[in-house]
Subunit: 199 residues, 2 copies
């Protein structure tokens, strides 16, 4: 027997019952607040508490912390991907890459602990269902890198993954600094300088 209209899994779409939908929204909303306050390692128990639900309800809506983070960041990531796509037609190929890397670092600085979380949950283990947001970000980054490489403005031997790993590492290294934005810029400058080929 084949079920046609969805399988009972709560992740296969927004909840249909009114109270469940309200809980879902409140969880995302309170997660956003908690992440901003304490970083993406914020207590899930407290997020549930603030959303006015029991802990089990949070797990029903978002089985893993990643699911919650993903939801909270979805729009920003989409913007980052859009930016990348637009930059693919920018004049200076290296500048386009530089601009996007800057935006990527800024993104990774959105919440404390985000860079570390991304590193642990995606770049290392070959997780089967790579979160789509990651896949799209990676694709855009790869396209920008490929274009710069073709134009001869990118140093040879700079692996795509390595560059993205460095971007993540830079956000991580800057995140708890007094002026994390300026700190990240300085570290990124070091990286970008190394990405230019020698004259």
């Amino acid at each position: 027997m084949i079920t046609l209209a969805g399988n009972g899994s709560p992740r296969a779409g927004r909840p249909r019952r009114a109270d469940a939908r309200r809980n879902h929204e409140q969880l995302v909303e309170q997660a956003r607040i908690a992440f901003a306050e304490s970083g993406v390692d914020a207590s899930l128990d407290e997020i549930a508490r603030r959303a006015g639900v029991a802990s089990g309800t949070l797990y029903r809506h978002f089985p893993t912390r990643l699911d919650l983070i993903e939801k909270v960041l979805a729009e920003r990531i989409a913007e980052l991907v859009d930016l990348g796509n637009r930059l693919l037609t920018a004049e200076d190929e290296f500048d386009a890459l530089h601009t996007w890397l800057r935006a990527a670092v800024t993104h990774a600085l959105t919440y404390r602990g985000l860079a570390a979380f991304v590193m642990n949950s995606a770049l290392d283990r070959a997780d089967d269902p790579v979160p789509t947001w990651h896949a799209e970000m990676f694709a855009v980054a790869a396209a920008l890198l490929a274009r710069a490489r073709r134009s001869g403005t990118l140093v040879a031997g700079a692996d795509d993954t390595d560059v993205l790993r460095m971007v993540n590492a830079i956000a991580w290294a800057a995140q708890d600094t007094p002026d994390s934005s300026a700190q990240a810029d300085r570290l990124l400058a070091l990286l970008v300088h190394g990405l230019r080929p020698r004259a």
Copy 2:
């Protein structure tokens, strides 16, 4: 009234009682094993258990996790400082720096979580009693950087702290990778390439 012979603090030297000295040694020994197995975030409770003491005893000997890590790594750090001092008289100023940075990354890869721990406990907050090992490492690094800078083989505008922060970030980004050593080398190559001035 002034106490002359020590102030009763357990940290003011090795324990004098035989059982305490044995416990001290066992704690360091078991910490080394636990760190190698699970990284520097290893459970302190289990370290105590393996050392055959109660948790309170561990805290008596090592009030903070940092004290334990420091003790376990003391010798390696001393070697790293020695290496740096020797490299100060090496022929090629840039190569000397490169070699030391490589050793520093390798050091930071000794135990999982070490780079993160160092970042959180030292580079950010201006901890009053900066652990001596850090101070010495920083001094050697600064000397090597200064020498390379004087010789004109180091790019202008590379801040000492920034470079060390990047070294730490590289170790962090490589630590959970299948071949962390090779991964770290590749990332370090990117950094070092950026440290050379343009011809």
